[in-house]
């Protein structure tokens, strides 16, 4: 079953009609509906190309948050071998919103870390919808530090609405944990590559995505605040999220222009949620390319290049 987004309603109607016709044919032998159904399929395919060829920023937000979009776990399962999760922050708990551990990427050992949102009610609750608590960031800090000491490249997969705004999270130092995680990203002397696979929600994303190379899936987003949050503050009306999404310049395309994103990974027509395997493979290829780009660089060079890249983000802007 397809989960349609609000803007896909006309598409849902056509695809539904085609399906209905075919169901009718199955129920009544001898009824030939294939010609009609195929025409509808063709119309739907054209509509999909048209819809996804020109997604507004707000529609991209919806695609980026699509429940069927491949999540961190899907990428880890498909792209890495011998994934060995390493749990806990050695302090308080293990945060299930953050996955992380040793794994092999095309045979090479790496440290992989990412936000996991979950795919159904049970796993979403278990994963806290991908909203990490301080323990999650502290686990990531521990793993990045370990990778640094053992010379393993770090791959981060970013997909979070933001850090969890909870009482305990605040009491245990959410701010400090995020700040230290970003600091760790900037200190390690191994390659650090990051892919925004869905939502890059504010500081909770920065803590993982301060990388040598940041790639974004074509319909992923990365923003200082959610469009809804921005709308309710600046427009005093959360319903103005379309305007806010537009103004915030949160799409992969905008971020590439602003120098925050280094590479856009193309999604198949209709988005990553319609063609999971293909999208996951494209991300895998991008990770390989980004890591290869740094081959031969010394640890200090990679750390310094990372710092230089971020220091440079004080004089950027869109073309006039």
């Amino acid at each position: 079953m397809t989960n349609y987004l609000e803007f896909e309603k006309p598409l849902a109607e056509i695809e539904g009609k085609a399906e209905e016709l075919r169901a009718l044919a199955r129920a009544n032998e001898g009824t030939d509906v294939e010609k009609e159904a195929s025409a509808l399929d063709k119309k739907a395919a054209e509509m999909l190309v048209q819809l996804y060829g020109d997604l507004t920023p707000w529609r991209k937000c919806q695609v980026a948050r699509h429940p069927d979009r491949p999540h961190c776990k899907d990428y880890i399962d498909a792209l890495f071998t011998q994934y060995t999760p390493l749990a806990g922050d050695r302090n308080f708990a293990d945060d299930h919103a953050v996955m992380g551990g040793l794994a092999r990427l095309d045979g090479t050992p790496v440290m992989v870390i990412g936000h996991e949102k979950g795919h159904d009610t049970k796993t979403r609750i278990e994963r806290n919808f991908g909203m990490a608590r301080p323990e999650g960031y502290r686990k990531a800090i521990r793993l990045m530090d370990m990778a640094d000491r053992f010379g393993l490249p770090v791959v981060t997969l970013v997909d979070t609405p933001g850090a969890y705004p909870g009482k305990g999270a605040e009491e245990r130092g959410q701010s400090e944990a995020i700040a230290r995680s970003t600091q760790m990203c900037l200190s390690i002397k191994v390659p650090l590559v990051s892919v925004i696979i869905g939502e890059g929600g504010s500081g909770g994303a920065v803590a993982f995505a301060t990388a040598n190379r940041v790639a974004m899936l074509e319909h992923s987003i990365y923003s200082v605040i959610s469009p809804e949050g921005c709308a309710s503050i600046l427009w005093k009306d959360a319903e103005k999220m379309r305007e806010a999404a537009e103004a915030l310049r949160l799409t992969a395309q905008n971020l590439k222009e602003l120098g925050v994103c280094d590479r856009i990974i193309k999604e198949p027509v209709g988005g990553a949620h319609r063609h999971k395997a293909e999208s996951i493979a494209a991300v895998g290829k991008a990770i390989q390319i980004m890591l290869a780009e740094m081959q031969g660089n010394s640890g200090v060079e990679m750390r310094d290049a990372r710092r230089k890249k971020y220091l440079g983000l004080g004089s950027r802007g869109l073309a006039a």
Partner: protein, 305 residues
Amino acid sequence: MNWISNYVRPRINSIFSRREVPENLWSKCDECGTMLFHRELSNNLNVCTNCGHHMYISPRDRFAALFDGGIFTEVEVPEPTADPLHFRDQKRYPDRMKASQKNTGEKDAMLVGEGEIGRTPIVAAAQDFSFMGGSMSMYVGNAIIAAAERAVMKKCPLILFSAAGGARMQEGILALMQMPRTTIAVEMLKEAGLPYIVVLTHPTTGGVTASYAMLGDVHIAEPNALICFAGPRVIEQTIREKLPEGFQRAEYLLDHGMLDRVTPRTDMRDELITIARMLLGLGTVISGELPAPEAEAAPTKDAKE
């Protein structure tokens, strides 16, 4: 109002006029409601003399009270791209900027100065909550980097007074990118072996807390300052329960291990001198009012006020 008082205390006066106090002579404490005579209040660094409530103080007034003899040299901050996203909500971002600049007399939400405190050379940076909620912009990032570079060059500590509602939405992702940028500034100090002291003032929230404000060697907060990542309103909406009394206030954070100290503004200067000198391995200094540094030591170029 004569021209001299207007010249000496322009910022204080503008606060008074915004609060619509007749004749700009009296201010009402937002906490206890006591009417406070303006000179008495500014002499007490905008801390209520009745209840100890800490009110807003501008970076310039803070520096005037912090540096020996009130003398400091402003450290130049590289100008970032103006309106990098061509942002427009109900107002255009350049218009909001102009209004804030007119209102505060400052370029943006961070002032950087260098000088001496208790004869100890330092660089100080102070965030201005009255400038678009102190929000972290590319300028603020540039200011912190300039402050750190200056401190490294002079081999002296950086003392940073934070105050912000978070990152500046009108600069979108580029505001967010000031989290890693300012973290690099902190790394510069760390690698140079120089003290980085953060004074967290009311309020310090969001991306600011989650970067340079929580990475100090020493964290000191002003009493009752709100310090958090997510604001109390957001948390209440998420967890659907009332938060405990004093939640996310300085004293609560002290209790939860996030701060070293909570210190009243009026004692802050002496405490900063004491801590900075010990971290630098310097001898004690006679505390209290000190005259301006001697002529040859005093910064003369670009000295303000």
